[in-house]
Protein backbone atom coordinates (compact mmCIF):
# COMPACT_ATOMS: atom_id res chain seq x y z
CA UNK A 1 0.00 0.00 0.00
CA UNK A 2 3.04 2.24 0.18
CA UNK A 3 2.36 3.65 -3.25
CA UNK A 4 -1.08 4.81 -2.25
CA UNK A 5 0.42 6.46 0.81
CA UNK A 6 2.72 8.41 -1.49
CA UNK A 7 -0.30 9.57 -3.37
CA UNK A 8 -1.55 11.61 -0.45
CA UNK A 9 1.91 12.98 0.08
CA UNK A 10 1.73 14.34 -3.44
CA UNK A 11 -1.76 15.71 -3.07
CA UNK A 12 -1.28 17.82 0.00
CA UNK A 13 2.03 19.13 -1.26
CA UNK A 14 0.18 21.50 -3.54
CA UNK A 15 0.31 24.63 -1.43
CA UNK A 16 -1.70 23.05 1.34
CA UNK A 17 -4.66 22.77 -0.98
CA UNK A 18 -6.82 19.80 -0.15
CA UNK A 19 -7.41 17.85 -3.31
CA UNK A 20 -9.53 14.76 -2.88
CA UNK A 21 -9.44 12.34 -5.76
CA UNK A 22 -13.17 12.30 -6.19
CA UNK A 23 -14.75 15.57 -5.29
CA UNK A 24 -17.73 16.16 -3.06
CA UNK A 25 -17.82 19.83 -4.14
CA UNK A 26 -19.51 20.78 -0.93
CA UNK A 27 -18.31 23.92 0.73
CA UNK A 28 -15.10 23.91 -1.26
CA UNK A 29 -13.55 21.27 0.96
CA UNK A 30 -12.33 18.04 -0.57
CA UNK A 31 -12.67 18.62 -4.28
CA UNK A 32 -10.79 17.25 -7.24
CA UNK A 33 -9.50 19.73 -9.68
CA UNK A 34 -11.12 18.78 -12.97
CA UNK A 35 -7.89 17.95 -14.75
CA UNK A 36 -6.81 15.45 -12.11
CA UNK A 37 -10.02 13.48 -12.18
CA UNK A 38 -9.92 13.62 -15.97
CA UNK A 39 -6.39 12.24 -15.98
CA UNK A 40 -7.38 9.35 -13.70
CA UNK A 41 -10.41 8.49 -15.82
CA UNK A 42 -8.31 8.81 -18.96
CA UNK A 43 -5.56 6.44 -17.76
CA UNK A 44 -8.23 4.07 -16.51
CA UNK A 45 -9.98 3.97 -19.87
CA UNK A 46 -6.68 3.55 -21.73
CA UNK A 47 -6.18 0.31 -19.78
CA UNK A 48 -7.57 -2.43 -22.02
CA UNK A 49 -7.94 -4.86 -19.12
CA UNK A 50 -10.09 -2.33 -17.28
CA UNK A 51 -12.43 -2.17 -20.27
CA UNK A 52 -12.57 -5.97 -20.32
CA UNK A 53 -13.42 -5.93 -16.59
CA UNK A 54 -16.18 -3.36 -16.96
CA UNK A 55 -17.61 -5.15 -19.99
CA UNK A 56 -17.68 -8.44 -18.06
CA UNK A 57 -19.49 -6.82 -15.12
CA UNK A 58 -22.08 -5.23 -17.42
CA UNK A 59 -22.59 -8.56 -19.19
CA UNK A 60 -22.94 -10.38 -15.85
CA UNK A 61 -25.51 -7.86 -14.55
CA UNK A 62 -27.51 -7.97 -17.80
CA UNK A 63 -27.30 -11.78 -17.92
CA UNK A 64 -28.55 -12.24 -14.35
CA UNK A 65 -31.14 -9.49 -14.05
CA UNK A 66 -32.38 -8.84 -17.61
CA UNK A 67 -31.79 -12.36 -18.98
CA UNK A 68 -34.71 -14.01 -17.12
CA UNK A 69 -37.11 -11.46 -18.68
CA UNK A 70 -36.35 -12.89 -22.12
CA UNK A 71 -35.47 -16.47 -21.28
CA UNK A 72 -38.36 -17.85 -19.23
CA UNK A 73 -37.64 -21.00 -17.24
CA UNK A 74 -39.27 -22.75 -14.32
CA UNK A 75 -36.89 -22.54 -11.39
CA UNK A 76 -39.35 -23.36 -8.61
CA UNK A 77 -41.02 -26.70 -9.23
CA UNK A 78 -38.99 -29.80 -10.04
CA UNK A 79 -39.68 -32.06 -13.01
CA UNK A 80 -38.80 -35.58 -14.18
CA UNK A 81 -36.76 -34.13 -17.00
CA UNK A 82 -33.50 -34.54 -15.05
CA UNK A 83 -29.79 -34.32 -15.99
CA UNK A 84 -30.58 -33.91 -19.67
CA UNK A 85 -27.62 -33.13 -21.94
CA UNK A 86 -27.51 -29.69 -23.63
CA UNK A 87 -29.83 -29.30 -26.64
CA UNK A 88 -33.61 -29.72 -27.22
CA UNK A 89 -34.77 -26.46 -25.70
CA UNK A 90 -32.18 -26.54 -22.91
CA UNK A 91 -28.99 -24.87 -24.25
CA UNK A 92 -27.03 -25.96 -21.18
CA UNK A 93 -29.08 -29.03 -20.26
CA UNK A 94 -30.96 -29.65 -17.02
CA UNK A 95 -29.78 -30.48 -13.51
CA UNK A 96 -30.68 -33.22 -11.01
CA UNK A 97 -34.01 -31.56 -10.20
CA UNK A 98 -34.95 -30.93 -13.81
CA UNK A 99 -34.21 -27.21 -13.65
CA UNK A 100 -32.87 -25.59 -16.83
CA UNK A 101 -29.17 -24.91 -16.17
CA UNK A 102 -28.96 -21.71 -18.23
CA UNK A 103 -31.97 -20.22 -16.48
CA UNK A 104 -30.60 -21.33 -13.12
CA UNK A 105 -27.28 -19.63 -13.86
CA UNK A 106 -29.18 -16.36 -14.31
CA UNK A 107 -31.21 -16.69 -11.12
CA UNK A 108 -28.23 -17.99 -9.14
CA UNK A 109 -26.10 -15.09 -10.29
CA UNK A 110 -28.60 -12.60 -8.88
CA UNK A 111 -27.93 -13.59 -5.28
CA UNK A 112 -24.16 -13.70 -5.89
CA UNK A 113 -24.09 -10.17 -7.32
CA UNK A 114 -26.52 -8.82 -4.70
CA UNK A 115 -24.37 -10.21 -1.92
CA UNK A 116 -21.16 -8.98 -3.56
CA UNK A 117 -22.34 -5.39 -3.95
CA UNK A 118 -24.17 -5.14 -0.61
CA UNK A 119 -21.28 -6.61 1.38
CA UNK A 120 -18.77 -4.31 -0.31
CA UNK A 121 -20.90 -1.24 0.51
CA UNK A 122 -21.72 -2.18 4.12
CA UNK A 123 -18.24 -3.46 4.97
CA UNK A 124 -16.59 -0.43 3.40
CA UNK A 125 -18.75 2.05 5.31
CA UNK A 126 -18.19 0.30 8.65
CA UNK A 127 -14.48 -0.25 7.99
CA UNK A 128 -13.83 3.29 6.78
CA UNK A 129 -15.55 4.93 9.76
CA UNK A 130 -13.89 2.55 12.25
CA UNK A 131 -10.45 3.01 10.72
CA UNK A 132 -10.80 6.78 10.35
CA UNK A 133 -11.91 7.21 13.96
CA UNK A 134 -9.14 4.95 15.30
CA UNK A 135 -6.43 6.66 13.25
CA UNK A 136 -7.75 10.16 13.93
CA UNK A 137 -8.03 9.83 17.70
CA UNK A 138 -4.83 7.78 17.99
CA UNK A 139 -3.25 6.87 21.33
CA UNK A 140 -4.89 4.35 23.65
CA UNK A 141 -8.21 4.36 21.77
CA UNK A 142 -6.39 3.50 18.55
CA UNK A 143 -4.43 0.71 20.24
CA UNK A 144 -7.58 -0.86 21.70
CA UNK A 145 -9.55 -0.53 18.46
CA UNK A 146 -6.75 -2.08 16.43
CA UNK A 147 -6.23 -5.00 18.85
CA UNK A 148 -9.93 -5.79 18.31
CA UNK A 149 -9.26 -5.92 14.55
CA UNK A 150 -6.14 -8.07 15.06
CA UNK A 151 -8.15 -10.49 17.18
CA UNK A 152 -10.88 -10.88 14.60
CA UNK A 153 -8.31 -11.26 11.83
CA UNK A 154 -6.59 -14.12 13.65
CA UNK A 155 -9.66 -16.33 13.33
CA UNK A 156 -10.03 -17.34 9.66
CA UNK A 157 -13.11 -15.64 8.21
CA UNK A 158 -14.55 -18.78 6.71
CA UNK A 159 -14.50 -20.63 10.05
CA UNK A 160 -16.47 -17.81 11.72
CA UNK A 161 -18.91 -17.75 8.82
CA UNK A 162 -19.41 -21.51 8.92
CA UNK A 163 -20.08 -21.32 12.65
CA UNK A 164 -22.61 -18.49 12.25
CA UNK A 165 -24.25 -20.20 9.26
CA UNK A 166 -24.63 -23.36 11.35
CA UNK A 167 -26.22 -21.46 14.26
CA UNK A 168 -28.61 -19.25 12.29
CA UNK A 169 -30.75 -20.41 9.39
CA UNK A 170 -29.35 -18.47 6.44
CA UNK A 171 -31.47 -15.97 4.53
CA UNK A 172 -30.14 -13.54 1.92
CA UNK A 173 -30.26 -10.59 4.36
CA UNK A 174 -28.63 -12.59 7.14
CA UNK A 175 -25.82 -13.77 4.85
CA UNK A 176 -25.17 -10.17 3.77
CA UNK A 177 -25.01 -9.04 7.41
CA UNK A 178 -22.82 -11.95 8.49
CA UNK A 179 -20.36 -11.69 5.58
CA UNK A 180 -20.18 -7.90 6.08
CA UNK A 181 -19.55 -8.45 9.78
CA UNK A 182 -16.31 -10.27 8.98
CA UNK A 183 -15.31 -8.21 5.92
CA UNK A 184 -14.89 -4.69 7.35
CA UNK A 185 -11.51 -5.52 8.89
CA UNK A 186 -9.29 -4.87 5.87
CA UNK A 187 -10.77 -1.45 4.95
CA UNK A 188 -10.55 -0.54 8.66
CA UNK A 189 -6.83 -1.31 8.71
CA UNK A 190 -6.12 0.51 5.44
CA UNK A 191 -8.05 3.66 6.33
CA UNK A 192 -6.59 3.75 9.82
CA UNK A 193 -3.11 3.82 8.24
CA UNK A 194 -4.16 6.69 5.99
CA UNK A 195 -5.82 8.59 8.85
CA UNK A 196 -2.64 8.35 10.95
CA UNK A 197 -0.67 10.22 8.29
CA UNK A 198 -3.48 12.61 7.34
CA UNK A 199 -4.38 13.87 10.80
CA UNK A 200 -1.08 15.71 11.26
CA UNK A 201 -1.36 17.55 7.95
CA UNK A 202 -1.44 21.34 7.92
CA UNK A 203 -4.92 21.57 6.45
CA UNK A 204 -6.34 19.42 9.23
CA UNK A 205 -4.68 21.68 11.79
CA UNK A 206 -6.09 24.66 9.90
CA UNK A 207 -9.61 23.26 10.19
CA UNK A 208 -9.04 22.82 13.93
CA UNK A 209 -7.92 26.42 14.29
CA UNK A 210 -10.98 27.59 12.40
CA UNK A 211 -13.13 25.71 14.89
CA UNK A 212 -14.00 22.63 12.83
CA UNK A 213 -15.07 19.61 14.89
CA UNK A 214 -13.74 16.06 14.75
CA UNK A 215 -16.74 14.87 12.77
CA UNK A 216 -16.12 17.50 10.10
CA UNK A 217 -12.42 16.58 9.88
CA UNK A 218 -13.10 12.85 9.56
CA UNK A 219 -15.98 13.05 7.09
CA UNK A 220 -14.88 16.02 5.00
CA UNK A 221 -11.10 15.71 5.03
CA UNK A 222 -9.75 12.32 6.07
CA UNK A 223 -12.24 10.05 4.28
CA UNK A 224 -12.19 12.00 0.96
CA UNK A 225 -8.39 11.97 0.93
CA UNK A 226 -8.27 8.23 1.45
CA UNK A 227 -10.92 7.60 -1.20
CA UNK A 228 -8.48 6.02 -3.68
CA UNK A 229 -7.50 3.30 -1.23
CA UNK A 230 -11.13 2.85 -0.25
CA UNK A 231 -12.46 2.41 -3.79
CA UNK A 232 -9.74 -0.05 -4.77
CA UNK A 233 -10.38 -2.10 -1.65
CA UNK A 234 -14.16 -2.04 -2.15
CA UNK A 235 -13.75 -3.49 -5.65
CA UNK A 236 -11.71 -6.40 -4.29
CA UNK A 237 -14.31 -6.85 -1.55
CA UNK A 238 -17.01 -7.52 -4.13
CA UNK A 239 -14.85 -10.26 -5.65
CA UNK A 240 -14.04 -11.75 -2.24
CA UNK A 241 -17.67 -11.72 -1.10
CA UNK A 242 -18.75 -13.57 -4.25
CA UNK A 243 -16.06 -16.20 -3.64
CA UNK A 244 -16.99 -16.57 0.05
CA UNK A 245 -20.68 -16.91 -0.81
CA UNK A 246 -19.89 -19.58 -3.41
CA UNK A 247 -17.72 -21.47 -0.93
CA UNK A 248 -20.37 -21.35 1.81
CA UNK A 249 -23.00 -22.60 -0.62
CA UNK A 250 -20.68 -25.32 -1.85
CA UNK A 251 -20.23 -26.50 1.74
CA UNK A 252 -24.00 -26.71 2.08
CA UNK A 253 -24.30 -23.74 4.44
CA UNK A 254 -25.68 -21.18 1.99
CA UNK A 255 -29.28 -20.39 1.10
CA UNK A 256 -31.63 -23.40 1.37
CA UNK A 257 -33.37 -24.64 -1.82
CA UNK A 258 -35.20 -23.72 -4.02
CA UNK A 259 -32.98 -20.60 -3.85
CA UNK A 260 -30.29 -20.94 -6.48
CA UNK A 261 -26.66 -19.96 -6.23
CA UNK A 262 -23.61 -20.66 -8.35
CA UNK A 263 -21.89 -22.33 -5.39
CA UNK A 264 -24.81 -24.60 -4.53
CA UNK A 265 -25.18 -25.54 -8.23
CA UNK A 266 -21.60 -26.79 -8.13
CA UNK A 267 -22.12 -28.58 -4.86
CA UNK A 268 -25.01 -30.51 -6.45
CA UNK A 269 -23.12 -31.04 -9.71
CA UNK A 270 -20.17 -32.68 -7.94
CA UNK A 271 -22.32 -35.74 -7.25
CA UNK A 272 -22.36 -36.40 -10.99
CA UNK A 273 -18.66 -35.89 -11.61
CA UNK A 274 -18.22 -39.57 -12.54
CA UNK A 275 -21.19 -39.52 -14.93
CA UNK A 276 -19.55 -37.05 -17.28
CA UNK A 277 -22.30 -34.41 -16.80
CA UNK A 278 -19.91 -31.56 -17.61
CA UNK A 279 -22.74 -29.03 -17.90
CA UNK A 280 -23.28 -29.29 -14.14
CA UNK A 281 -19.62 -28.46 -13.39
CA UNK A 282 -18.26 -25.99 -15.97
CA UNK A 283 -20.94 -23.30 -16.52
CA UNK A 284 -21.38 -22.33 -12.86
CA UNK A 285 -17.63 -22.47 -12.20
CA UNK A 286 -16.82 -20.34 -15.23
CA UNK A 287 -19.53 -17.85 -14.25
CA UNK A 288 -17.93 -17.42 -10.81
CA UNK A 289 -14.42 -17.06 -12.25
CA UNK A 290 -15.42 -14.52 -14.92
CA UNK A 291 -17.26 -12.36 -12.40
CA UNK A 292 -14.42 -12.48 -9.87
CA UNK A 293 -11.80 -11.85 -12.59
CA UNK A 294 -13.85 -8.84 -13.78
CA UNK A 295 -13.86 -7.15 -10.36
CA UNK A 296 -10.18 -7.95 -9.75
CA UNK A 297 -9.29 -6.44 -13.15
CA UNK A 298 -11.21 -3.26 -12.36
CA UNK A 299 -9.60 -2.98 -8.92
CA UNK A 300 -6.10 -3.44 -10.34
CA UNK A 301 -6.82 -0.89 -13.07
CA UNK A 302 -8.08 1.77 -10.65
CA UNK A 303 -4.99 1.25 -8.50
CA UNK A 304 -2.72 1.52 -11.53
CA UNK A 305 -4.39 4.68 -12.81
CA UNK A 306 -4.03 6.33 -9.40
CA UNK A 307 -0.32 5.51 -9.52
CA UNK A 308 0.11 6.62 -13.13
CA UNK A 309 -1.43 9.98 -12.29
CA UNK A 310 1.37 10.48 -9.79
CA UNK A 311 4.04 9.62 -12.31
CA UNK A 312 2.67 12.03 -14.90
CA UNK A 313 2.66 14.98 -12.53
Amino acid sequence: MSKIDDLDEGLSGEGGDNNGIIGSNSGGEAHASGSQLKLIVQTFLENKLAIVGIALVIIAVLFCFVGPLFYHTNQVTTSYNITQAPGHGHPLGTDQNGYDVLGRLMVGGQSSLEIGFSVAIIATIIGVLYGAIAGFIGGVVDTIMMRVVDTLLSIPTLLLLIFLAAVFRPTLTLLIIVISAVSWLSPARLVRGEALTLRVRDYVKAVRVMGGGSRRIILRHIVPNAIGTIVVNATFQIADAILVMATLSYLGLGLPPPAANWGSMLSDGVNYVYDGYWWLIYPAGIAIILTVVAFNLIGDAIRDSLEVRLQKR
Binding site: T151, S154, P156, I162, Y250, L251, L253, V273, I288, N296
Partner: protein
Protein backbone atom coordinates in the same frame (compact mmCIF):
# COMPACT_ATOMS: atom_id res chain seq x y z
CA UNK B 1 15.82 -6.78 20.39
CA UNK B 2 14.58 -7.50 23.94
CA UNK B 3 12.30 -4.44 23.84
CA UNK B 4 10.93 -5.53 20.48
CA UNK B 5 10.31 -9.07 21.76
CA UNK B 6 8.54 -7.87 24.91
CA UNK B 7 6.31 -5.51 22.93
CA UNK B 8 5.48 -8.07 20.26
CA UNK B 9 4.80 -10.93 22.73
CA UNK B 10 2.64 -8.56 24.80
CA UNK B 11 0.54 -7.76 21.74
CA UNK B 12 0.08 -11.46 21.00
CA UNK B 13 -1.05 -12.16 24.57
CA UNK B 14 -3.67 -9.42 24.28
CA UNK B 15 -4.88 -10.85 20.98
CA UNK B 16 -5.03 -14.34 22.53
CA UNK B 17 -7.22 -12.97 25.33
CA UNK B 18 -9.35 -11.43 22.57
CA UNK B 19 -9.68 -14.82 20.87
CA UNK B 20 -10.90 -16.38 24.13
CA UNK B 21 -13.45 -13.56 24.54
CA UNK B 22 -14.73 -14.11 20.97
CA UNK B 23 -15.08 -17.86 21.55
CA UNK B 24 -16.92 -17.12 24.81
CA UNK B 25 -19.26 -14.69 23.04
CA UNK B 26 -19.88 -17.20 20.23
CA UNK B 27 -20.79 -19.85 22.79
CA UNK B 28 -23.33 -17.54 24.41
CA UNK B 29 -24.65 -16.48 20.99
CA UNK B 30 -26.08 -19.97 20.55
CA UNK B 31 -29.87 -19.92 20.59
CA UNK B 32 -30.83 -21.04 24.07
CA UNK B 33 -27.26 -20.75 25.29
CA UNK B 34 -24.66 -23.46 25.86
CA UNK B 35 -27.13 -25.68 27.73
CA UNK B 36 -29.40 -26.07 24.74
CA UNK B 37 -26.44 -26.74 22.45
CA UNK B 38 -25.42 -29.67 24.61
CA UNK B 39 -28.77 -31.02 25.79
CA UNK B 40 -30.48 -30.61 22.42
CA UNK B 41 -33.43 -28.58 21.19
CA UNK B 42 -36.07 -30.49 23.20
CA UNK B 43 -34.57 -29.96 26.63
CA UNK B 44 -37.17 -28.80 29.17
CA UNK B 45 -36.67 -25.60 31.18
CA UNK B 46 -36.08 -27.73 34.30
CA UNK B 47 -33.34 -29.74 32.63
CA UNK B 48 -31.73 -26.55 31.38
CA UNK B 49 -31.87 -24.97 34.83
CA UNK B 50 -30.36 -28.10 36.38
CA UNK B 51 -27.65 -28.21 33.75
CA UNK B 52 -26.88 -24.50 34.20
CA UNK B 53 -26.60 -24.94 37.95
CA UNK B 54 -24.40 -28.02 37.65
CA UNK B 55 -22.04 -26.33 35.22
CA UNK B 56 -21.91 -22.93 36.86
CA UNK B 57 -23.86 -21.24 34.08
CA UNK B 58 -26.11 -19.44 36.60
CA UNK B 59 -23.18 -17.45 37.96
CA UNK B 60 -22.42 -13.87 36.88
CA UNK B 61 -21.15 -13.61 33.30
CA UNK B 62 -17.63 -12.45 34.19
CA UNK B 63 -17.23 -15.32 36.64
CA UNK B 64 -18.27 -17.73 33.88
CA UNK B 65 -15.67 -16.20 31.60
CA UNK B 66 -12.90 -16.79 34.14
CA UNK B 67 -13.95 -20.41 34.62
CA UNK B 68 -14.01 -20.76 30.83
CA UNK B 69 -10.52 -19.32 30.29
CA UNK B 70 -9.27 -21.32 33.27
CA UNK B 71 -10.35 -24.46 31.45
CA UNK B 72 -8.72 -23.28 28.23
CA UNK B 73 -5.45 -22.53 30.03
CA UNK B 74 -5.47 -26.07 31.40
CA UNK B 75 -5.78 -27.30 27.82
CA UNK B 76 -9.34 -28.43 28.33
CA UNK B 77 -11.34 -27.61 25.20
CA UNK B 78 -14.59 -29.26 26.23
CA UNK B 79 -16.40 -32.31 25.01
CA UNK B 80 -18.08 -33.21 21.74
CA UNK B 81 -21.36 -34.80 22.80
CA UNK B 82 -22.14 -35.84 19.23
CA UNK B 83 -18.92 -37.90 18.96
CA UNK B 84 -18.81 -38.70 22.70
CA UNK B 85 -15.12 -37.77 22.74
CA UNK B 86 -13.20 -34.89 24.22
CA UNK B 87 -12.38 -32.13 21.73
CA UNK B 88 -8.72 -32.62 22.65
CA UNK B 89 -8.71 -36.24 21.55
CA UNK B 90 -10.53 -35.41 18.28
CA UNK B 91 -7.93 -32.75 17.53
CA UNK B 92 -5.06 -35.01 18.52
CA UNK B 93 -5.97 -37.48 15.77
CA UNK B 94 -7.00 -34.91 13.11
CA UNK B 95 -4.68 -31.95 13.49
CA UNK B 96 -1.36 -33.66 12.62
CA UNK B 97 -2.86 -34.88 9.35
CA UNK B 98 -4.02 -31.38 8.43
CA UNK B 99 -0.62 -29.96 9.34
CA UNK B 100 1.03 -32.45 6.98
CA UNK B 101 -1.36 -31.47 4.16
CA UNK B 102 -1.07 -27.70 4.64
CA UNK B 103 2.65 -27.86 5.44
CA UNK B 104 3.61 -29.82 2.35
CA UNK B 105 1.49 -27.55 0.14
CA UNK B 106 3.10 -24.49 1.76
CA UNK B 107 6.64 -25.74 1.15
CA UNK B 108 5.85 -26.87 -2.39
CA UNK B 109 4.21 -23.57 -3.33
CA UNK B 110 7.19 -21.59 -1.98
CA UNK B 111 9.60 -23.78 -3.95
CA UNK B 112 7.66 -22.96 -7.13
CA UNK B 113 6.65 -19.36 -6.39
CA UNK B 114 10.05 -17.94 -5.36
CA UNK B 115 11.98 -18.75 -8.58
CA UNK B 116 9.00 -17.93 -10.81
CA UNK B 117 8.46 -14.57 -9.06
CA UNK B 118 12.14 -13.64 -9.36
CA UNK B 119 12.24 -14.68 -13.00
CA UNK B 120 9.18 -12.50 -13.65
CA UNK B 121 10.79 -9.54 -11.90
CA UNK B 122 14.01 -9.83 -13.88
CA UNK B 123 12.22 -10.21 -17.21
CA UNK B 124 9.30 -8.00 -16.31
CA UNK B 125 6.83 -6.92 -18.99
CA UNK B 126 8.15 -9.70 -21.25
CA UNK B 127 5.99 -12.43 -22.71
CA UNK B 128 6.80 -14.93 -19.92
CA UNK B 129 5.98 -12.34 -17.27
CA UNK B 130 2.57 -11.71 -18.83
CA UNK B 131 1.90 -15.43 -19.17
CA UNK B 132 2.86 -16.15 -15.55
CA UNK B 133 0.86 -13.14 -14.31
CA UNK B 134 -2.21 -14.33 -16.20
CA UNK B 135 -1.93 -17.82 -14.74
CA UNK B 136 -1.61 -16.56 -11.17
CA UNK B 137 -4.42 -14.04 -11.73
CA UNK B 138 -6.72 -16.81 -12.93
CA UNK B 139 -5.79 -19.12 -10.06
CA UNK B 140 -6.29 -16.24 -7.63
CA UNK B 141 -9.82 -15.61 -8.91
CA UNK B 142 -10.82 -19.28 -8.85
CA UNK B 143 -12.81 -20.81 -6.00
CA UNK B 144 -10.45 -23.41 -4.48
CA UNK B 145 -13.19 -26.04 -4.40
CA UNK B 146 -13.76 -25.65 -8.13
CA UNK B 147 -10.05 -26.08 -8.82
CA UNK B 148 -10.20 -29.31 -6.80
CA UNK B 149 -13.22 -30.54 -8.76
CA UNK B 150 -11.55 -29.76 -12.10
CA UNK B 151 -8.40 -31.63 -11.04
CA UNK B 152 -10.53 -34.62 -9.99
CA UNK B 153 -12.32 -34.51 -13.32
CA UNK B 154 -9.06 -34.40 -15.28
CA UNK B 155 -6.75 -36.72 -13.31
CA UNK B 156 -9.16 -39.11 -11.59
CA UNK B 157 -12.19 -39.42 -13.86
CA UNK B 158 -10.67 -38.99 -17.33
CA UNK B 159 -7.02 -40.01 -17.03
CA UNK B 160 -7.28 -42.45 -14.06
CA UNK B 161 -3.81 -41.42 -12.82
CA UNK B 162 -4.65 -40.38 -9.27
CA UNK B 163 -7.52 -41.41 -6.98
CA UNK B 164 -10.21 -38.77 -6.41
CA UNK B 165 -10.25 -39.33 -2.66
CA UNK B 166 -7.56 -38.47 -0.15
CA UNK B 167 -6.05 -41.37 1.81
CA UNK B 168 -8.49 -42.62 4.43
CA UNK B 169 -7.30 -43.71 7.82
CA UNK B 170 -7.05 -42.69 11.43
CA UNK B 171 -3.26 -42.61 11.75
CA UNK B 172 -0.64 -40.33 10.23
CA UNK B 173 0.99 -43.45 8.79
CA UNK B 174 -2.03 -44.06 6.58
CA UNK B 175 -1.68 -40.55 5.19
CA UNK B 176 2.02 -40.46 4.42
CA UNK B 177 2.27 -43.99 3.06
CA UNK B 178 -0.18 -43.17 0.26
CA UNK B 179 1.47 -40.39 -1.76
CA UNK B 180 -0.63 -41.12 -4.83
CA UNK B 181 -3.85 -40.33 -3.03
CA UNK B 182 -2.23 -37.30 -1.38
CA UNK B 183 -1.22 -35.87 -4.75
CA UNK B 184 -4.44 -34.11 -5.81
CA UNK B 185 -5.26 -32.48 -2.44
CA UNK B 186 -1.68 -31.24 -2.03
CA UNK B 187 -1.54 -29.91 -5.60
CA UNK B 188 -4.88 -28.10 -5.23
CA UNK B 189 -3.71 -26.35 -2.08
CA UNK B 190 -0.29 -25.66 -3.63
CA UNK B 191 -1.79 -23.94 -6.68
CA UNK B 192 -4.10 -21.82 -4.51
CA UNK B 193 -1.27 -20.51 -2.34
CA UNK B 194 1.17 -20.29 -5.26
CA UNK B 195 -1.15 -17.71 -6.85
CA UNK B 196 -0.74 -15.18 -4.05
CA UNK B 197 2.91 -16.01 -3.21
CA UNK B 198 4.17 -15.45 -6.75
CA UNK B 199 2.42 -12.07 -7.05
CA UNK B 200 4.03 -11.00 -3.80
CA UNK B 201 7.43 -12.43 -4.70
CA UNK B 202 7.43 -10.61 -8.03
CA UNK B 203 6.79 -7.19 -6.49
CA UNK B 204 9.23 -7.84 -3.64
CA UNK B 205 11.97 -8.74 -6.15
CA UNK B 206 11.17 -5.68 -8.30
CA UNK B 207 11.51 -3.51 -5.20
CA UNK B 208 14.84 -5.11 -4.30
CA UNK B 209 16.13 -4.64 -7.86
CA UNK B 210 15.42 -0.90 -7.66
CA UNK B 211 17.69 -0.40 -4.62
CA UNK B 212 20.89 1.62 -4.70
CA UNK B 213 23.14 -1.29 -3.82
CA UNK B 214 22.04 -3.12 -6.95
CA UNK B 215 23.03 -0.08 -9.03
CA UNK B 216 26.37 0.07 -7.19
CA UNK B 217 26.95 -3.62 -7.87
CA UNK B 218 26.18 -3.07 -11.54
CA UNK B 219 28.50 -0.06 -11.67
CA UNK B 220 31.28 -2.15 -10.14
CA UNK B 221 30.88 -4.44 -13.12
CA UNK B 222 29.64 -7.50 -11.24
CA UNK B 223 28.06 -10.22 -13.32
CA UNK B 224 24.29 -10.51 -13.54
CA UNK B 225 24.43 -13.81 -11.68
CA UNK B 226 26.36 -12.43 -8.71
CA UNK B 227 24.02 -9.44 -8.50
CA UNK B 228 20.92 -11.63 -8.59
CA UNK B 229 21.98 -14.37 -6.21
CA UNK B 230 24.25 -12.49 -3.80
CA UNK B 231 22.65 -9.06 -3.63
CA UNK B 232 19.03 -9.23 -4.70
CA UNK B 233 17.87 -12.68 -3.56
CA UNK B 234 18.74 -12.28 0.11
CA UNK B 235 16.87 -9.02 0.38
CA UNK B 236 13.89 -10.17 -1.62
CA UNK B 237 13.50 -13.29 0.51
CA UNK B 238 13.18 -11.50 3.87
CA UNK B 239 9.51 -10.50 3.43
CA UNK B 240 8.65 -14.15 2.74
CA UNK B 241 8.75 -14.72 6.52
CA UNK B 242 6.02 -12.13 7.05
CA UNK B 243 4.13 -13.33 4.02
CA UNK B 244 3.93 -16.89 5.35
CA UNK B 245 2.69 -15.55 8.70
CA UNK B 246 0.11 -13.29 7.12
CA UNK B 247 -1.20 -15.95 4.76
CA UNK B 248 -1.83 -18.49 7.55
CA UNK B 249 -5.56 -17.70 7.86
CA UNK B 250 -6.14 -17.95 4.10
CA UNK B 251 -4.03 -21.13 3.92
CA UNK B 252 -6.12 -22.67 6.69
CA UNK B 253 -9.32 -21.58 4.95
CA UNK B 254 -8.18 -23.14 1.66
CA UNK B 255 -7.17 -26.21 3.64
CA UNK B 256 -10.67 -26.56 5.11
CA UNK B 257 -12.24 -26.35 1.66
CA UNK B 258 -9.71 -28.73 0.09
CA UNK B 259 -10.19 -31.27 2.86
CA UNK B 260 -13.92 -31.19 2.26
CA UNK B 261 -13.52 -31.61 -1.53
CA UNK B 262 -11.24 -34.65 -1.18
CA UNK B 263 -12.76 -36.14 2.02
CA UNK B 264 -9.38 -35.68 3.68
CA UNK B 265 -9.74 -36.94 7.28
CA UNK B 266 -8.37 -33.78 8.92
CA UNK B 267 -9.50 -30.88 11.11
CA UNK B 268 -11.13 -28.95 8.27
CA UNK B 269 -13.29 -31.86 7.17
CA UNK B 270 -14.18 -32.43 10.84
CA UNK B 271 -15.13 -28.76 11.14
CA UNK B 272 -17.55 -28.90 8.18
CA UNK B 273 -19.11 -32.10 9.54
CA UNK B 274 -19.44 -30.51 12.97
CA UNK B 275 -21.23 -27.54 11.36
CA UNK B 276 -23.67 -29.84 9.59
CA UNK B 277 -24.38 -31.89 12.74
CA UNK B 278 -24.51 -28.75 14.94
CA UNK B 279 -21.70 -30.04 17.15
CA UNK B 280 -21.00 -26.65 18.76
CA UNK B 281 -18.38 -27.63 21.36
CA UNK B 282 -16.23 -29.16 18.60
CA UNK B 283 -16.70 -26.12 16.32
CA UNK B 284 -15.64 -23.74 19.09
CA UNK B 285 -12.71 -25.93 20.11
CA UNK B 286 -11.37 -25.97 16.55
CA UNK B 287 -11.89 -22.19 16.20
CA UNK B 288 -9.87 -21.57 19.39
CA UNK B 289 -7.02 -23.90 18.42
CA UNK B 290 -6.76 -22.41 14.92
CA UNK B 291 -6.94 -18.87 16.32
CA UNK B 292 -4.09 -19.64 18.73
CA UNK B 293 -2.05 -21.26 15.96
CA UNK B 294 -2.52 -18.18 13.75
CA UNK B 295 -1.45 -15.78 16.51
CA UNK B 296 1.61 -17.86 17.40
CA UNK B 297 2.47 -18.30 13.71
CA UNK B 298 2.33 -14.55 13.13
CA UNK B 299 4.47 -13.94 16.21
CA UNK B 300 7.11 -16.40 14.99
CA UNK B 301 7.05 -14.84 11.52
CA UNK B 302 7.59 -11.34 12.94
CA UNK B 303 10.44 -12.51 15.18
CA UNK B 304 12.08 -14.26 12.20
CA UNK B 305 11.76 -11.06 10.22
CA UNK B 306 13.35 -9.02 13.02
CA UNK B 307 16.24 -11.49 13.25
CA UNK B 308 16.81 -11.39 9.49
CA UNK B 309 16.33 -7.64 9.07
CA UNK B 310 17.65 -5.61 12.04
CA UNK B 311 16.01 -2.42 10.73
CA UNK B 312 12.61 -3.66 11.86
CA UNK B 313 13.58 -3.84 15.52
CA UNK B 314 14.21 -0.14 15.79
CA UNK B 315 11.08 1.13 14.12
Amino acid sequence: MIAFLVKRVGQSVIVLIGVSIIAFILEHLLPGGPAKAILGGRASPFQIAAFNHANGLDKPIWEQYFVYTGNLLHGNLGRSYKLNQTVNSVLATDLPKSIILVGSALILSLIIAIPVGIFQAVRRNGIYDYAATSVSFLLYSMPSFWLGIILILAFAVNLHIFPSEAPQGQTIGAIITNPRAMFLPVITLTLVSYASFTRYMRSSAIEALAQDWIRTAKAKGLSQRVILFKHMLRNALIPIATLVGLSLPSLITAGVVTESVFNFPGTGFRFINAANTEDYPLLLGIIIVIGVMTVVGNLLADITYAVLDPRVRYR
